[in-house]
């Protein structure tokens, strides 16, 4: 390092080391030109392009976000519509089932009532017929017995003289009676 410093102090011919510290005029010219070019290229070309692109990007993002929001809202609407429809349909189905149940119940009740009434009617008809038949048979029997008694009485009157005939007559009558029966 000593050598470096010594060289710095003694070595330079013109500026005694000051030329190392001060800007060299020619380098200043080229440096200034270079930086000015960089600044103008960036300010006049690169940044307008960049800013335009950034604007485009932000509007694209904005647009996409709005679109997504709109789609979401639409989907929500459709969903709530469907839900409402589904609810309606469920209510409708329940109503139909309820109605059907009621209809079936009333039908059942009707049929049972009808059947019971019919059975009742059949039974009472049969009872009536039986009663009528019995009445008729009694009636017939009564008239038959009357006629027979009259016949018997006349026969008895006809054959009174003969006890054997009388007996015979009685037997005959009983036989006849049993035959007719």
């Amino acid at each position: 390092m000593n050598a470096l410093l010594l060289a710095a102090e003694g070595g330079s011919e013109g500026g005694s080391g000051l030329s190392i510290i001060l800007p060299a005029a020619a380098e200043l010219v080229y440096g200034a030109i270079s930086f000015v070019i960089v600044y103008f290229v960036l300010a006049k070309f690169a940044f307008p392009k960049l800013n335009a692109m950034l604007e485009e990007r932000s509007s694209a993002i904005q647009g996409r976000m709005e679109e997504a929001e709109r789609t979401r809202r639409e989907a929500d609407e459709v969903k709530s519509q469907y839900q409402a429809q589904l609810g309606d349909a469920k209510g409708e189905a329940n109503r139909i089932i309820e109605e059907a149940k009621q209809t079936a119940e009333s039908l059942r009740r009707d049929i049972v009532a009808k059947a019971e009434a019919e059975a009742q009617a059949i039974v009472s008809r049969a009872q009536n017929e039986v009663a009528n038949e019995r009445d008729r048979a009694l009636q017939e029997l009564r008239s038959e017995v009357g006629a027979l008694s009259v016949q018997l009485a006349s026969k008895i009157v006809e054959k009174e003289l003969d006890p054997a005939a009388h007996q015979h007559l009685v037997d005959e009558y009983i036989q006849k009676l049993s035959r007719t029966n």
């Binding site: 470096l4 710095a8 080391g17 060299a24 020619a26 010219v29 270079s34 930086f35 690169a46 392009k49």
Partner: protein, 275 residues
Amino acid sequence: MNLLLAAESCPPENPNCFHVPTLEELFEFAPLFGEGLFAFNRVSLLYVLAAIIVCALFIAALRNPTIVPGKLQGIVEGIVGFVRDQIALEVIGPAGLKFVPFLTALFMFIFVNNFYEIMPLVQLPSTGRMAVPAFLAFTVWCVYLVVGAKEQGIIGFWKNALLGIEMPAAVRIIYIPVEFAQLLIVRPLTLAIRLFANMMAGHILLAVIFIAANAFLIGFHGEFAINFKALPIGLVALAAGPAMVAFELMVGALQAYIFTILAAVYIAGSVHADH
């Protein structure tokens, strides 16, 4: 030390002799062509190349910018986003948006010129020459004075800067000349010198490390004999090389950032009257 003395006794005409380069050798270059104000030397070439590199990067990335960015566009958007969010908006606020191109140009131009320090085949930080730091500091000085005059009026700007803060009269007597000098002289001077001195020191550091590695590993050895006194120093210097290169990469990036953020701070002081 006797190694160095031995080296100095070696005749400088012999290219195998150890030779300590002077600062002029490290930093001053003869013109490649041209003369006077337009003498075009190695440093000028690096300045122009830096402009071409930065412009090419931004033009290539943003010639046809797409909404979904490609790799290059993503990188450039990252750089611009960093300058915009971390520097302009952070320091100046919403009013800082219109300074983003200027701050980005500063940051990128300084960074490329700093990066030359460790770029293979270049190995010379062109910001280690005072020209660009001085010009950029001058530009920042112009910008914050003009912005201050525009935003607050010339009188308003100076009134706010010198009389804007409540303080006892005795303090104000000291405050006014100090603040005046700081606005007009200290700010641009420190801005330029901070960048220039950091990069110059970095270059000297790397030069010393590389020269030491070269000299102690090769220069001090005879044609058929190894100098065992010199070898360990050479090995240490060789090992330090990559570490120093990494360190200088950090310094280069950091100095570009510091210059840019200080420019933003100065502009912010001109945009807003309150300190």
